[in-house]
Amino acid sequence: MNTTLWALLAAVYVACIVETVEATTVVLAMGITRGWRSTLLGVGTALVALAAVTTVGGYALIHWLPVSALQLVIGGLLLAFGLQWIRKAVYRASGRKSLHDEDEIFSRQLDAARAAGERQPFDMFGFMVSLKSVFLEGMEVVFIVLTFGLNAGRIPAASLAAVAAIVTVVVIAVIARRPLAMIPENTLKYGVGLMLAAFGSFWAFEGLGVLRAGRASVEWPGADWSILALLVAWFLVSRVMIRALRPASEPAVDDVAQPSEVLS
């Protein structure tokens, strides 16, 4: 396997860890307060819906779009997605936005579940909240697997990385039986944002070739090595922005965050 494929698998694995942790927090809160029957039924229904969306979406993308169009559309979306993640990471690290806290989210979900009233014979609240959470977070996983997998022509490898991430989180959650706040989510999100932006820029600008005669992809100097250069460029720009946006009068987030959440 080459370096690009390893980087791709790492991006899919880490991105899926982040999304699965977020879904797991909500599922745990619903299971504990509303009962596991309706919660797990919601999770199962979401997984079936996700499988259907993945099959239909993957088939349509593979068969309907030429390679350069796929690169342009998917690369553009990945780039937009990556910029949002880096923006949030820059704001969090510079102290302009509070850090993502799974314990706090878990506590909010518990309060909401307790306030939702008595359970019917079948608890619709627990079912819908877990269905929505797993489906929406799962859609992000599907998007990342399909985009990375299709552009690199490695759908099975990307799917395997996603399944490995989901199994990792579920096993830890079953053992810990509490929200996975120990996973350094803010740092992981920052890393994933950098990778999404690097791969997104690479594929989107390659895909511009769909606009010229013959539709041949635009060539980057250094081919795949450009992805590494883009990764370095995005990292440097984000560090400069973290430093530039830090309020002069307030302590840096790096000084007040938990050691695992430090972004440097």
């Binding site: 937009a80 910029l83 923006r87 929406l136 600008f205 511009l208 100097p221 720009v237 946006l245």
Partner: protein
């Protein structure tokens, strides 16, 4: 609200949030850079020129957007 309708509403909101995010200016930046790349290609620019120009404009545009966003937030807070 009916849970199914609420789910559909959340699903629609999710896609807007997912594709455009909470800052539409970044999505607009990506679209603008792709239009720029298309224009450069149409003008006969070399591949290297196209990808490097697009990458540099994206990096610079991202920095400018963050600064602009903070200024807008500060102005809102003052009002």
């Amino acid at each position: 609200m009916n849970p199914v309708i609420r789910f559909l509403k959340d699903f629609g909101h999710f896609w807007i949030e997912f594709l455009i995010g909470d800052d539409w200016k970044l999505f607009a930046l990506v679209v603008a850079v792709l239009v720029l790349g298309g224009l450069l290609l149409a003008a006969g620019a070399a591949d290297t020129t196209v990808v490097l120009a697009c990458a540099l404009v994206t990096l610079a545009g991202f920095c400018a957007e963050l600064v602009l966003d903070l200024r807008l937030q500060a102005r809102k807070a003052h009002r």
